[in-house]
Structure formats: structure tokens, C-alpha cells
Symmetry: C2
Subunit: 568 residues, 2 copies
């Protein structure tokens, strides 16, 4: 394509309201334009990238034996009432009424519709397993849509749903989807991790998230430096490690007026943060309070804490008045010695000797506390988020922590929807059996934004080849004044296009600086500059967007050399 | 693909509520399933056909220089208020409110959104002409959705919008779209006609509809047997033809008690219907009534009648009481003689001699009426629908009338939206100028239904090759009992697939009758049957769905012969 035929309204300045790189760059590079809050038009360049993602997703879903269907975006309320979600779902569900005053919603997900289809069309075990997917526009009425298409209200999603009689069959399809997702993100050239995930509100048994690694990611994920293990930090087990040293210090009380944080203690008393503890009082399952203790440099993991039988669900921090009544001091001066509520401590706290905690008297701390000497041996549990350097729970190395953007999620759903909607089939013995289900999503439009978060620099987007809207940019210098430049650019354009390479010829007649800036902003991986001076010496100039390769190419071999470099 | 991996729930019986062939067959062949009124799920087979249409549309739009974008389905009310359509549009517009109580609609069309985009992004004549399209799910809240996807509420549409400074540029793009549409429907293997159309409520200057010819079509279209002329019957000009003969009969009054229709007169008095006339009283533009006359065998064309300056708009038939007051008789006994309201007659009526009309007295008709003798020479106009055999207005032959299904529509819109939304650019002289627009639609999902209306028989769908979900069906006879049959089917499946042909292998182990019935129902164009007896003689059996070709193919040459036949 020629830039003169392409609506590519690039901007020099970062738009004021865009907070993250992908949002800024998609606006600046003319990939998207905002219509209203959370609603975006995909411009020609952006849509080309979106379609590439869609295409790879489709190919790999087909290859994995899934069948593509297309369900309506607008869904009748009756089905959501059958599943119970019409009442459970909050205002994210865009509800609407048709001209006959019947209730519908713009589907954020299609479990009900697909389960309805399958209960009507599938009657026998012989039709199973069945895996149906669609690539479809969905709507979630986010209260505060932000980050551009990363969290838009209208978005493109691939959702798949599988149906089985037996758990083993579900597990086989689940594994096939896991593998297909890995191939998809590999083919797209992304640095990603499949991680074990909490099944949360959707329920079900097993679940993996697929994260594109990027510093701006909203999720923290932990993965082993020596093996396959990876999990959302919410879920990763903090493994107990190391023997507790013998006590070396006497227990003593230290005046700590006004010091309410770990940082205060560490700064003012020069003690290592790894020998401080935080004591947190939460509501107990049986009423009253429970104390949870983690090391001063660790964070309480609320998902883990909430799963403790002694702790009330949902996890609720105690009010200050209740804390004072139970401990005799405020939240900044709590500690285990003399505390008359049940205490559960993280494994890392149980491994401490000579540690520091609040004295349960405002303005005082105890130093040199030791379990078994100053206190009974504690009840222990995994209470904290893992940190970098922790042992991998799989025993295959040490954990690293990275930020990730969730772009895919697969679930073993079980029978939640098939039971609610009565989706059954006859098994080999002629018995009516409720189906078991899996569901598998990829945020197709979100992948585009996540890829940019991972692949950009101060000059703009730097696409992996598979995702680029065009693979090669041709930049002729002053073609209007030099016929040889113009003809050479046209010839390369023709030859590369005929070889199946998607080429963007910058024929706007702009100065080199403008051309280069635009091609770098929109992220074309390979750039060829055709200039009069180069041509006099029989060369054109090559530059890769990644910066890895640059240099002159003899004109006579230009097309061949480029095709080789592109692997085309 | 193998049928055991394909969700293909074929039905033996016609569904009770499906009125037209495409609706019946799409349900029976497992192409679609109904979710709610006017909402359908595209099943795997149906979606494959839909995607083929989409692909051809996209290729030809790109080839014609249009750029693909994707706008949100959900549109803010503010833009529709700017264009005035928020109030003009009826209940077909699905209106909704988001969680912040802001008004939106699910777009049935995107003139407002695209004009808003262009007014923001296009500032100079140098960026013109611009032609942007999308393939997108749209919604029209039909009061009575029917005919399956032919008139569904949620449907897939290709809509394009072009922007220009000058009318010549609009005309050039309009012609390019006209040509692209012809290529699209040709490539899809459909018998279609582009026809001149009324611009109707959308306004603007020039408009063409694209009709797939089929007896079940809702529109009547007229086209020349000797040239290019084609027009919607609503618009086709009825050309005056033939000299009026000299009077041969006396004017006489005939008693016609109870005869109120032309058919009554013709049956009871043996007069040719071509010498009867119908007299219709309508409201006049200046108040009072106006008489319109067409021949007894012709139909009043209301679009043409409404355009007469003397006639009130909208066209309104007179009430019986007003007719009696003006003519002294009821609607079944009206005629021109002695009628004291302005009379406008169709050209064919003006060419009559010795004709019959009501006497303006109940129960009496006049026979042998002649213009210029019994009445003054009449004021004439084109008032009727054309009929088969009429001369083509283009002078290139005689008209035929066929039924058509509208699948595409192109408009020269003019400045309706660009004026309302203030979409202007600077021209070469630096003056602010309002854009002129074209719009170009194809009902992508409707094309699938229209193609079936045109291509089916009593056994099912008979796809043109380009539209078929699979081009070849392989039907092995009892492969479970004959290893050679099974192996041969597998080999052909592999060889054809590797040659890029989409093949459906019926591996269900069903009886031949069931296999053949299903493959004919779903419409696969080419069928190859592999049977033990044939293999003993070294042949397989070929059958084309169209019935045009059938016969044995030597097994050794089977793949080659098939590829040749497919042009692959």
C-alpha cells in the first residue's frame, strides 16, 4: 500500500488523557480513535494488526479441533435467569429492552447461549467431545473504562466452550487448548507465560491465565528460573525454607514513640527488615479476632488468608476500636507477646529468631523475641505473597516476579452451567448424564495493546514481524526531484509485493525525518531508504526497527536480500 | 474435515415456522439455529459460507481502493441528535442506556460515526477522495423479524462511506463501487442485476440496488432483453408507444349492476382488458381531488404518482364519501366522462380508442369512449408500473420483469450528513468546503440466504463452487467392512486436502442413502462415492450437485480428474 492511500493520522504529541504506552502509541500512530468512553474505532493500520491476531487465533483453534460458530451479540434475559446470572451480574452487564419491551443484554460472555445450543443439538455421547468457538465483539460496561483498548467497553474476544461426559475428556481438551494458546502467543512473537490462576468467582476446578510480560502489567506473576512453574502471585505457594537459628539475644523492651511502620523501626534502630514482623488483626470465622503475622518485608496474601478455616470470609480487617479492646494498643504497636487472640504466622515468621514486634503497648516494641522461649511454638500457614528469590513450589529453582497483562484464560468449568440449564446427553448405557464443560478465552483486541506494551521504545511501536501491519517500509528520498529514486522505489515495491510481502511505500514526498519518524512510530519492522547518493554508489540503506541490523544493501541484490532477511 | 468432527445437525422435516426456502434449508441443513426472534447462531457449516462471502467482499473492496476500518457497534446518541436521526428514526433503532444513564444505540448504520471520524481526522483536500468500509454486525429492531437471516434483527453488513470535494470525484468512486459490486456477485457465482433505484428517504441523487434474482424475491425489477438497462419497477419509466387508432365504436351506456372490478367487466362482457381503464381519485396538492387513470391491466405506480405536482404528498386515496360527493358514484363505477375534477392519464390510456370506463353512476359503464370526441384530449403522464414486453426506456429492447432480493445498495448521498455534522476541509485555494459523500452497503449475511433462494431444489441447497462450505464430499460405502474403501477414502481426502481443496469426508458410517441425502441437503457441489464394487473395477463414482455431470472415474486418475474438474 502507498501512504497516500492510507488514512494514517499520526500525532507528534502524546494525547493528554492516555496513561499507558499502548494507549498513547495507538492514538499517536493513528491505530485507533475514541468515539466515546471505552468505545474505539479501529483505523486501517490498527485493524490490520487486529486481523493478524484474529487469523492466528483462528488457525490454531481450528488446528486444535475446535469448530467456529458465531452467536448473537444480543442475548435474551431468559437464559441468564436460568443460569442465575441475570441477578448476580452487576452493572457491567449492559441490559436493554427491545421494541416489544423484552429484556436482553449485550453479551459479555456466552456460557448461557452455547449451553442452550448444546442442550438442543447434542443428544448423545457419540457427539462428544465438542469444542465450539467464536471470534466476536463483546461488551462490558466498565465503570471507568481506561487504558484505551486495554480495558475498553466494546472489545473483540475469542471465546471457546467445550463439552464432555467425563473429566478425562475435559482434561484432554483443556490441555489441547493450553497448547494451542502457547502456539498462538509464540507465533505472534510475544514473551508470555501460562500461569496457574485462581478460579475465583467463575468457579470450577483448574484454571490457567496467559500473560504477556510487560512492566505496565496489572498482575504480578511468579515463575521459576529453572523450570516450567508459573503462577499468579495470588496463588503461588510460599514454601517454608531454612532452619530457625538458636536464640542469641535477650528479650527487651524498646521505647519507639511515634514509630508505627516497619520502615520507621528499620531506619531508627538499624535492625534488618527481615527480622521484623507485621501483626494484622482480622475477623475470625467464629466471631472475635484472629492475628495474622508476616515478615516486615513480606505482604499478606489476602486470597490465602481468606481460605484459612479460622478466618471469616470475606477477609475483613479489624476496626481500630476492636483492636484496642483486644490488644490494648493501636495497629502500629501490635505483636505476639501477650496477645490474647489466636495467632497464625507465616512459615517465614516461624523461622525467625531474635525478631522485633510491637509490645501491644503504644510507643513500645519488643526486640529479641524468640519462639519457644518467649512464646509458645506458633501455628503456621502460608500467608504471604511470594517474592523474588523464593524457592519454586515445584522444586525446580527459584522464583522470579514479573508483571503481566492477562490476554487469555482457560477454565475447567465443571457443570455449573450445564446443571443450571439442564444440558444432558445419553451415555453408552443410555443413562441421562449432565455434561461437564471447559471455557477458553483470548482477549483478541487486548493482545494488540499488550503486544505494544511489550514492544515499544521512545520512538514508537516496534512490532514483531508476525503482528506488523506492514513488514517493510520503503522511504524514497525526494523522489519528485530524482527519477531514479522514484523508479527504484516503485520497482522494489512491485517486486516485494509480488513476492507476497506487505509493503508500505511512503509516497507522500515528505522530508526523510518525517518519513522515518512516522515509520518508526507505527512500528514497521524493516525499513529501506532509497536515496540519490546511495544509488550513485549502487546501494540502498536498510534499517531494522529493533536496531539489531542496519547497513547498505547492493541495489542489484536488494529484493533478494530483503526476502532472505524476512524469511519470505 | 470429517463429519464426525463437525456439528452438522441436519433435520429431515421442514421446520414449521419457516416460510421461505432459504430459511427452511438453513435450519434443515444445520447452518443456523434460532436463539430468539430475529437472532440466529451461525453453526459451523453456515459460518463457513458467511466467511466466504465476507472474504470476497473484502478482497474486492480492497482492490477498489477502499480502506477497512472497524467502528463500534454501540454509538452515542449525541451524534444521532446532531444529524437529526435520533428523533426521525422509529423503533427499528435499538436504543439503550449505559450504567451512567447515557443514551446510546446499537447502530443499524454508521453515517454519523464515520462523518464524525472524518471531520476530526481529515482537514485537507489532499487527503481526498477517501473511501472507508467495515464488515460489522448491525442491529435493526424489526417489528416482525421473519424469513430467518433474510430479515434478521442482528445481521452482518459491509458498509462503506466515501468522501469527496467534487461531484466528479464522487461519481468516479460510485462507479468503482458499482464495478466492485458486480465483481463480488460474479465471483460468488450469483445471477444478479444492478438496477436503478429510488433514493427514497435516504435522499441524495443517484442510487443503484443489486438484486439476486429469485422467484421468492420481495422486489420486482425490470430489465431490457437487449441491453444493460435495469431498474426497480418502482422507478422504471413506462415509455409511450403506438399511435391511437381512429374511433370505431359509438359511445354507449351499459348496465353493469354489481360489477365493481375490471375482472367482472372482462368476464361478463367479453371486452379485452387492454381496452378497460381504472380511474383512481386521490387528494390534490391544492386540496380537492385529482383523477388518475391507468389501463385495466396496468398498476398505478405510487412513487410516480406522488411526484406529480398536482398530487398531494404523501399519496392519499380519496375516502368513499369524498368520491361520491365529487363523482356521484362509488369507486367501482368511476370514469372520465363528466367527471369534474382534474384528470391525469397514463400514456397508455391516452393511446386507447373505444375504451370502457365507469359512467360515474353506480351500476353503469360507458363503452366505446374516445378522446377528442367524447372527451377533451387528456393531460398525460407516466403513471404505471412497467410490465413485461414494454419497450426499454434506454431504447435497447423490451423489458422483462423478474423478482429480486436486494443484497446491495449504493447511494450518492450528497452533503446531508456532512452538512449536519459540519464535515469540511480546506480546498486548494484554502477555502472551507463541505464534503460530499457516497455510501455503499452489502447485506453480507443476507447474501447467504439470497444465494440459497437462487440455488436449491427439492433435495436441498446446491451451492455455486465459490460459496460452498466444502467443495467435495467423499462418501465411502461401508468403510468399516471394507478396508480398501476406507483406505481409498482416506487417500483421496489427503490428496485433495493437500492440493488446497476443502473436502468433507463422511466418516459417520451411515448408509449411502443417509450420506447422499445429507450431502445434497447441505449442498456440496461435488460428490465422490467410494464403494467396494467400484473399486473391484478400479473406479469411483462422481456426481455433481447440479446434476450436470455424473459418471465413473478411474481410481488411478481420481485426484487429478477431480482437481481438473474443480479448476484447482
Amino acid at each position: 500500500m502507498r501512504t497516500t492511500n492510507l488514512l494514517m493520522p499520526t500525532l507528534r504529541e502524546d494525547p493528554a488523557d492516555a496513561e499507558i504506552a499502548s494507549h498513547q502509541l495507538m492514538l499517536r500512530a493513528g491505530y485507533i480513535r475514541r468515539l466515546a468512553a471505552g468505545l474505539y474505532t479501529w483505523m486501517p493500520l490498527g485493524l490490520r494488526v487486529l486481523r493478524r491476531v484474529e487469523q492466528v487465533v483462528r488457525e490454531e483453534m481450528d488446528r486444535a479441533g475446535a469448530q467456529e460458530v458465531l452467536m448473537p451479540a444480543i442475548q435474551p434475559a431468559e437464559l441468564w435467569e436460568e443460569s442465575g446470572r441475570w441477578d448476580q451480574y452487576g452493572p457491567e452487564l449492559l441490559r436493554l429492552r427491545d421494541r416489544h419491551e423484552r429484556d436482553f443484554c449485550y453479551g459479555p460472555t456466552h456460557e448461557e447461549v452455547i449451553t442452550d445450543l448444546v442442550r438442543n443439538e447434542v443428544a448423545s455421547y457419540r457427539q462428544l467431545p465438542l469444542n465450539l468457538y467464536q471470534v466476536q465483539t463483546k461488551f462490558r460496561d466498565e465503570v471507568r473504562p481506561r487504558f484505551g483498548i486495554m480495558r475498553a467497553r466494546e472489545f473483540l474476544m475469542k471465546d471457546a466452550y467445550s463439552f464432555h461426559l467425563e473429566q478425562e475428556s475435559l482434561e484432554a481438551t483443556y490441555q489441547a487448548m493450553h497448547d494451542a494458546y502457547c502456539r498462538i502467543f509464540q507465533r505472534l512473537g510475544l514473551d508470555f507465560r501460562p500461569v496457574e490462576a485462581d478460579t475465583g468467582a467463575i468457579g470450577g476446578h483448574t484454571s490457567h491465565e496467559f500473560h504477556v510480560l510487560a512492566e505496565s502489567g496489572e498482575d504480578a506473576i511468579a515463575f521459576s528460573d529453572g523450570g516450567e512453574y508459573a503462577a499468579n502471585v495470588e496463588l503461588a505457594e510460599a514454601v517454608a525454607e531454612g532452619e530457625r537459628p538458636a536464640p542469641a539475644e535477650e528479650l527487651r523492651t524498646v521505647e519507639t514513640p511515634g514509630m508505627k511502620t516497619i520502615a520507621d523501626l528499620v531506619t531508627n534502630h538499624g535492625i534488618p527488615v527481615e527480622r521484623t514482623v507485621k501483626t494484622l488483626l482480622v475477623r475470625g470465622a467464629e466471631g472475635g479476632l484472629v492475628a495474622l503475622m508476616v515478615r516486615g518485608d513480606h505482604e499478606l496474601n489476602e486470597v490465602k488468608a481468606e481460605k484459612l478455616p479460622a478466618v471469616a470470609e470475606p477477609l475483613t480487617m479489624a476496626e481500630e476500636a476492636d483492636i484496642r479492646a483486644a490488644a490494648g494498643a493501636g495497629p502500629g504497636s501490635l505483636g505476639p507477646v501477650g496477645l490474647e487472640v489466636p495467632i497464625i504466622v507465616d512459615h517465614a515468621v516461624a523461622a525467625l529468631a531474635d525478631f522485633t514486634a510491637g509490645a501491644n503497648r503504644d510507643g513500645e516494641h519488643l526486640f529479641g523475641i524468640n519462639w519457644g522461649r518467649d512464646l509458645p511454638e506458633p501455628e503456621t500457614a502460608d500467608l504471604r505473597n511470594v517474592v523474588a528469590g523464593d524457592p519454586s513450589p515445584a522444586g525446580d529453582g527459584r522464583l522470579q516476579i514479573r508483571r503481566g497483562i492477562e490476554v487469555g484464560h482457560i477454565f475447567q468449568l465443571g457443570s455449573k452451567y450445564s446443571e443450571a440449564l439442564g444440558a444432558t446427553v445419553l451415555d453408552e448405557e443410555g443413562r441421562q448424564r449432565t455434561l461437564t464443560m471447559g471455557c477458553y478465552g483470548i482477549g483478541v483486541s487486548r493482545v494488540v495493546a499488550a503486544a505494544i506494551e511489550q514492544n515499544h521504545d521512545e520512538r514508537g511501536i516496534a512490532w514483531p514481524d508476525e503482528l506488523a501491519p506492514f513488514r517493510v517500509a520503503l522511504c524514497p528520498i525526494q523522489p519528485g526531484r530524482n527519477a531514479e529514486v522514484a523508479e527504484t522505489a516503485e520497482r522494489l515495491y512491485r517486486e516485494l509485493s509480488e513476492a507476497g510481502v506487505e509493503v508500505l511505500l511512503d509516497d507522500r514526498g515528505e522530508r526523510p525525518g518525517v518519513m522515518f519518524a512516522d515509520m518508526e512510530l507505527i512500528g514497521i519492522p524493516h525499513r529501506v531508504t532509497i536515496g540519490g547518493k546511495g544509488l550513485e554508489r549502487g546501494v540502498v540503506e536498510y534499517q531494522s526497527r529493533s536496531g539489531e541490523a542496519a547497513g547498505e544493501i547492493p541495489l542489484a541484490e536488494a529484493t533478494g536480500t530483503l526476502l532472505e532477511r524476512l524469511g519470505a
